[in-house]
Amino acid sequence: MALLCEDQELLEGFLTETAELLEKLDDDLVALEKMPEEMDLLNGIFRSIHTVKGASSFLGFDLLVKITHKTEDVLNRLRKDELKVTPETMDVILEAVDHIKLLVNDIRNGEIVERELDEIINKLIPYISDTFRESTVLPMETTRADDSSGNGTHPPVKTCEAPESTSPAQEPRTAETVASPEPSAPKPAQAKTAPPRGEELSDNTTVRIDVKRLDDLMNQVGEIVLERNRVLQMNIDYQSRENIVTFGEEFSKLAKRIDFVTSELQMQVLKIRMIPVEKVFKKFPRIVRNLSRDLGKEVNLEIIGEETELDRSVVDEIGDPLIHLIRNALDHGVESPEERVAAGKPRSGNVVLSATHEGNNIIISIRDDGKGIDPDKLAKKALDKGLVTEEQLAGMSGKEILDLVFLPGFSTKEKATDVSGRGVGMDVVKTNIRKLNGIIEIRSEVGKGSEFILKLPLTLAIIQSLLVDVENEVYSIPLAAVLETLKVETSSFHQVGGQEVLKLRDSVLPLLRLQKLFGVKESESSVEQSYVVIIGVAEKRIGLIVSRLLGQQEVAIKSLGKYLAKAPGIAGSTIMGDGRVALIVDPAGIIDMEESGSMGTWAA
């Protein structure tokens, strides 16, 4: 195992490559199940496993070799058409892949645990030999039942006294192969030699960048160096009073060029941080497959636009909310095949996961053609749980009723299932989306299906913002949250129960004076007209009254430091062209403040 210590680079290479191969594998396997005759796909899968096997045997990871070898055997038989692609076969292969992942993770964590692989190998073996397959059909069935009742994605591996070990006894040929794996003595030693690596190798800490992008970046840097030299030269000239006449003109040209080059540079750097949303999406075919089997539903998952790119910080954050929404779509949305047939729909339901760009946002939608959300049922539920009062309900529009699902403590399923409704409800999804300055919207039609639409900013480091003036203080509002701006006569504001509102088309919009919220000194002059910036966060809308709109600007977000980070209603700050600091308004925070009704507790 000396190799491990000496050749970290080799090990890192192995881990990166294996992780990539395995990530893709899940997706491919699920695809293969749907299109068993796709030879290319099968060959690709075979090659991946083969590569992992080769590399791990080179590095001496015996356990990994053993399991990949057996998996490869099964795949090889599929390839030779000696075995048919069936859900049962796929179950076993997927399980084997899970074990492989587990082992690779162990290696990554630097702690090689002695894992019991006999159980899974026993499951694979029947598929390797023809004669044996028939006789083990029964034990196989029980095994599968056991696993699905356990935890889906990570099957229990510790239990070594596998009840299915009856199978080797029946067939001497396999008993041999099973017996051999046991002596794996070198592993504990291995655990010691591999240094603890912690998180350094976890997927998102290292980046693979397209060489072309790196070259582009270098070009941009080259240009900016040129411009810098130009600035230095101009400064020298200016000091020595040369070319004084043309200085102004030259300088303005230079300013334009620097502006252009830096924004290009900024784009390039942002692009490097961008990764395709596929990274998150490719987990879903597997999840959907497992879930639909567990739930006894037939579901087709269609993925559109997985090549859409967004900032890695956003990619890291949207995984969990999306899994939750997908689970919801399968559990609550899509009906069982019988119900679907009875409703005159095709047996299998469709779930469409799509991603598209829209300006500086990415729109992710999860749409199912299930039973939709019944507003009446929803309203009743909220009432029963004491989340709303009858009066409140009476005044709600259809959309507002749908938004009730976001209330903490709401779950429409009577009984919490393994799949969804475990208390981590939609409010968690909403909180996560809000954290990203995103908006979430529900569309639903009873009997036809429902759709959850997420609108997220592409990046969190630099944002487009709307600069506004509040009684001579400048604030920046993230454009992602701005829905529209209006210029209105102050006379058209109305008071409803002490709350200022604005009639906007067919709805009534609650208003908030930023001047009051932020305790800005009011100027004497009475204003007849003011501007209203309508912001939306998740499903909430609110109008902010400001004195003037100053324009749109791209700003880099700076933290306020740990002492002021939690200032209510403020998300951070940015430095303006003149060197002053402008505060960035936190739309989610403001809406929270508005809801809780408490604001400015510190106002002196």
Partner: protein, 165 residues
């Protein structure tokens, strides 16, 4: 005969400590020079809403946004307009940079550790006990040694950090 222990104690008594001294109202204060990052002139402070009264706001310190505390407000002294003498002392407070507005910065002085006396039980001027780490009594001046890391009481620090909602 002095024992080894007392010699050592005497040595540490003689150890020189460097302090930055500054003025606030009529008093003179000192802070450890090692905690001071820089001293800058007053610049444009952006007010941060809904923060404690003594938080003046934030400034841009070469691309970094740092909070600014008014020591006058913190010490409940009467307000005074900023003038040419007004300075911001940028200090390292618990690993974060923070600026403190003072009336004027005078000098860096050296004092022997032995010169620092424990703070008297009651100090006039309203400065609370907690962040007084001592006083230096010289013939012509009285210097109050401040520990600005503790300028916020525990509860204040929590409320500064945690949301005020």
């Amino acid at each position: 005969m002095a024992t080894a222990a007392t010699i050592k104690a005497e040595e540490s008594q003689a150890e020189l400590i460097q302090l930055v001294s500054f003025n606030l109202d009529r008093e003179e204060y000192g802070v450890y020079v090692l905690k001071v990052r820089e001293i800058i002139r007053m610049s444009n402070v952006t007010r941060v809403p809904n923060t404690p009264y003594y938080v003046e706001g934030v400034i841009n310190l070469r691309g970094k946004v740092i909070p600014i505390i008014s020591l006058r407000k913190k010490f409940s002294l009467s307000d005074k307009d900023h003038d040419k003498q007004t300075r911001i002392i940028v200090m390292d407070v618990d690993g974060e940079l923070m600026g403190f507005i003072v009336d004027a910065v005078s000098e860096v002085i050296r004092v022997a550790a032995g010169e620092i006396q424990p703070p008297p039980a009651v100090v006039n001027g309203g400065v609370e006990q907690e962040y007084l780490s001592g006083v230096i009594n010289r013939a012509d001046r009285l210097l109050v040694l401040l520990d600005l890391e503790r300028v916020f009481s525990q509860s204040e620090r929590e409320s500064l950090i945690s949301s005020t909602l």
